[in-house]
Every structure is written in C-alpha cells, then in structure tokens.
C-alpha cells in the first residue's frame, strides 16, 4: 500500500494541513478564547461564563448548562453565506455541545450557564473539527474544570487512498469520504464520529486509526499552545 501518493497540496497522506496554528487568548473581553487555523480554515472560539442563566427558567439546580453557537461568517465561503442560523449550524452546534459535555465538569457550577461562541472566519472543509478543537481550548483558557482537552480532526478517503485532514478540493472529489472524529485522549472515548458515503468496515477502521493519529498530533499542539500562553513554570 506504500504507493507514492501526493495530494493536491503536496502533503503526505498522514499529514495535517499546513499551517496548523493554535493561539490562546485572542478575545480579551471573553473569559477564555482560542483561534485554530488549519490550512485555509480559520475558526475562533470564545467562552463566556460560568455566568447567571438568562432566561432564568433554563437554570439547572444541579449543574451548569452548556450553550454552543456555531456560526459561519458571511464572507467565510466563496459565495456569500446567508447570515443567521440554519439547519447545518444548528446540527453542528448541538454536536459540539454534546462532545464537550463529556469533558466539562458541569456539576461544579450549579445554576450557571457557559456560553461558547464559534465563528468560522474562513471555511475550507473541516470547520466542525477545528471548531471543537478551539472550543475545548477556550474552555480550558476560561479556567473551567475539565477532565481533558478534546483534539479533533477528520480523516477520509480520496481516490481510494486513506488520508488525514481533507481540504475542500479533496472533499469534493467523487466518491470521497469525510469522517470528522474526536476522542478524549486519556480515556480513548470517542465523542464525535460522523460519516456519509459507502465504505467497507476495514476501510472505516483504517480511516478511524488515521484520525486517531491526527488527534494525537493536535493534542500535542493544544498542550504546546497552553504552554505558550501560560509558560511551563511559574515563579514565586
């Protein structure tokens, strides 16, 4: 299987997009924030809270409520995106919310709300995984108790080859499969997995293995981004 396969942007199959950048604390007014750039995809995440719940009837006596809003900015895609929520953004918001509720210790903040705003500044496939990576970092930056960070990336099949982190061109290839994936590194629990298209079980397993490798790389970068902002040691 080690045929030479070079992708349209010159990457190896198991390589993430370049540049892959993570930065913390990009929104000073927010409690926590992060920016993730994966090739041409740029996503910004900002976390506000824990704060009082408005409207009050949504309040939970036992735990915090997590509210997530995924939004694509009008200029993020080639043709102007109609502003406002739609079916796709509602789905992705819910998806990210569910993935994050596996790691955020909501029971430590009863009667509060944690709001996460995810803005896609530029889209070139893989926005949901970039958004989830950014959201987990923004939560950590906000000082919210978490079990672990969530690294997330997609893997898939392009022209019969298993590749990591597809871009828009690869995704649009006929018979291409894109599988967004996220897992908790410490427990190996899978928190996000979606796919459409037709593939063998072996192929899917191979794609998942590839995605896991990608997640491990991103996890390292997430840690590096944290150390970049906070340093490795604190004086005094």
């Amino acid at each position: 299987m080690s045929r030479k396969f070079i992708r349209n942007d010159g990457r190896k199959p198991e390589e993430l997009r370049r540049p892959y950048k993570i930065k913390l604390g990009v929104v000073p007014r927010a409690n926590g924030s992060a920016l993730v750039q994966s090739g041409k995809t740029i996503v910004m995440a900002a976390v506000y809270g824990p704060k009082k719940v408005i409207p009050k009837h949504l309040e939970d006596q036992e735990k915090a409520i997590l509210r997530c809003r995924y939004n694509m900015i009008t200029f993020s895609v080639k043709d102007r995106k109609k502003p406002g929520p739609d079916k796709r953004s509602a789905e992705i918001s819910k998806l990210i919310e569910n993935a994050l509720s596996n790691v955020v210790m909501l029971e430590e903040y009863p009667r509060t709300a944690i709001d996460i705003y995810l803005e896609v500044i530029q889209a070139d496939a893989g926005t949901r995984v970039a958004a989830l990576t950014a959201a987990s970092l923004a939560l950590a930056d906000a000082g919210i108790a978490m079990k672990d960070l969530i690294p997330s990336t997609a893997a898939g099949r392009v022209n019969g080859h298993i590749v990591l982190d597809l871009n828009k061109e690869e995704e649009d290839v006929e018979d291409a499969i894109d599988l967004p994936f996220a897992y908790i590194p410490s427990t190996k629990e899978v928190v996000l997995l979606q796919m459409d298209g037709i593939a063998d079980i072996e192929e899917i397993e191979e794609i998942i293995e590839m995605a896991k490798k990608g997640c491990d790389k991103i996890y390292e970068m997430q840690i590096k981004a944290i150390k970049e902002k906070y340093g490795s040691y604190l004086e005094e």
């Binding site: 809270g49 006596q61 036992e62 108790a145 978490m146 672990d148 944290i226 906070y230």
Partner: protein, 221 residues
C-alpha cells in the same frame, strides 16, 4: 512556599501516580492517577495535591473575605453582588447594627452600598451567605472599586502582603483587596494605585514584579 518554581499543568495532565497522595481542589482521581482539571499550578500540602487555576471566575468559598455591592433589598435580607455567577445573601441577623422592628432596612444598607464581608456559608447548590459579624468586616465608604481576575489576587497581594504594601506606601492610599477580585481604593492618588494594580494583573507572570511596580509608580509621579 519554599520552592520558587511551580509547574504549570493543563486539564487532563497526570500529576501523580500512586495511592499515597490525596486529591484536593482542582484535581480528580482515576484509579491511581491524580489528574488536573484546570490550567493551573500544582500546590502540594503534605499528602494533598491541589491545582490552583490561573484563570476563571470567582467561586465563593467559606471564610473568604469579599467586597460586595448591595443590588437588592428584601424584607429581612440584602442581595449582594460579589463579582461571581452567584449572588450572596446578607440577612439582618448577620449585621452588627441594631435593627429596630419599625425601620426599613434600606436605612442600614441601601442599593449601591459597598461592604467588605465574610462568606459565612456556601451550600452545595452554591447559595452564598455573608456575615458582617467579624472584626475585619465593614462598610466601605467613598472610593474607587476596580475588578480584576480573582486568580490574580494572590499576585496582587504578594508574598506576605509585600506587593500591596509597596503600592499603598508609594501612592499613599488605602487599599482593600477582596478574595473575589474586587479591589477598593481610597486616597488622593487612587487612579495611580488602580493603574499599578492593573499593571500587576497584566504582568502577573513577570519575574521580580514588586521592583517593577515601584519603578512603574515612580515613573508616573
């Protein structure tokens, strides 16, 4: 205290493996591992391992002293904003003044008044009670109030109060720091003191900060 360098950890980082240590605040245990919940610094006290977060909102803790603003008045209590997701209650039995049956309690504390009070109790669902029945608790009159990140409060106070003492001495102001990240300043040079405190907050990770702050204040005067 003895060690000058403390390790910064991230959520999910394994701090310790073994059953001879106990998980304290900011950490959780999975089997034998003690794992951090926050981005923070490790603080070992005997066998107990804690992680002090480097960021975040104020979570009320019993016996903390906080600066609060009265935001609402009930029949026999005040509602106090303590720079936290939770509002605090101050009951009429928790104040030192004598309360006559006939009077309206807004005559004692009115909306907008500032108090320096002690957190007497926090329930599991985070209902907070304050008390003024403490020698340090008092009402705060005219002055500036600034809000800083509660996790920077230890840095603003400094080792044994060294930082806040430097600022107080150099600016000739009265300063009271609440654990909730709210700081009350009174005096002629209050704006300068406020600037100095915000300087500390911004550069909390800098080395030799006490000297830099005194330089900063001297350069401004």
């Amino acid at each position: 205290m003895g060690e000058s360098k403390r390790k910064v950890v991230y959520p999910g980082e394994i701090i310790y493996e073994g059953i001879d240590a106990l998980p304290g605040l900011g950490v959780y245990r999975v089997e034998e591992k003690i794992i951090s919940k926050h981005i923070g610094v490790v603080n070992k006290k005997g066998r107990i391992i804690n992680v002090v977060p480097l960021n975040g909102v104020y979570m009320p803790k019993q016996d903390d002293f906080v600066i609060g603003e009265i935001i609402d008045i009930g029949v026999n209590f005040w509602l106090v904003d303590i720079h936290s997701p939770y509002d605090a209650f101050l009951g009429i039995y928790d104040i030192t003044e004598f309360v006559d049956k006939e009077i309206d309690i807004s005559e004692i504390y009115d909306v907008g008044d500032l108090i320096y009070a002690k957190v007497s109790r926090v329930t599991k669902t985070k209902y907070v009670n304050l008390t003024m029945k403490d020698s340090q608790a008092k009402r705060l009159y005219k002055g500036y109030v600034i809000d800083v990140s509660p996790s920077k409060v230890p840095r603003i106070i400094g080792k044994g109060g060294s930082m806040i003492k430097t600022i107080k001495d150099l600016t000739q102001t009265k300063i009271i720091v609440g654990q909730n990240g709210r700081i009350w300043i009174q005096g002629k040079n209050a704006d300068l003191a406020a600037e100095a405190i915000l300087f500390v907050e911004e550069n909390a990770l800098m080395e030799g900060l006490t000297d830099k702050v005194s330089e900063y204040i001297k350069s401004k005067t």
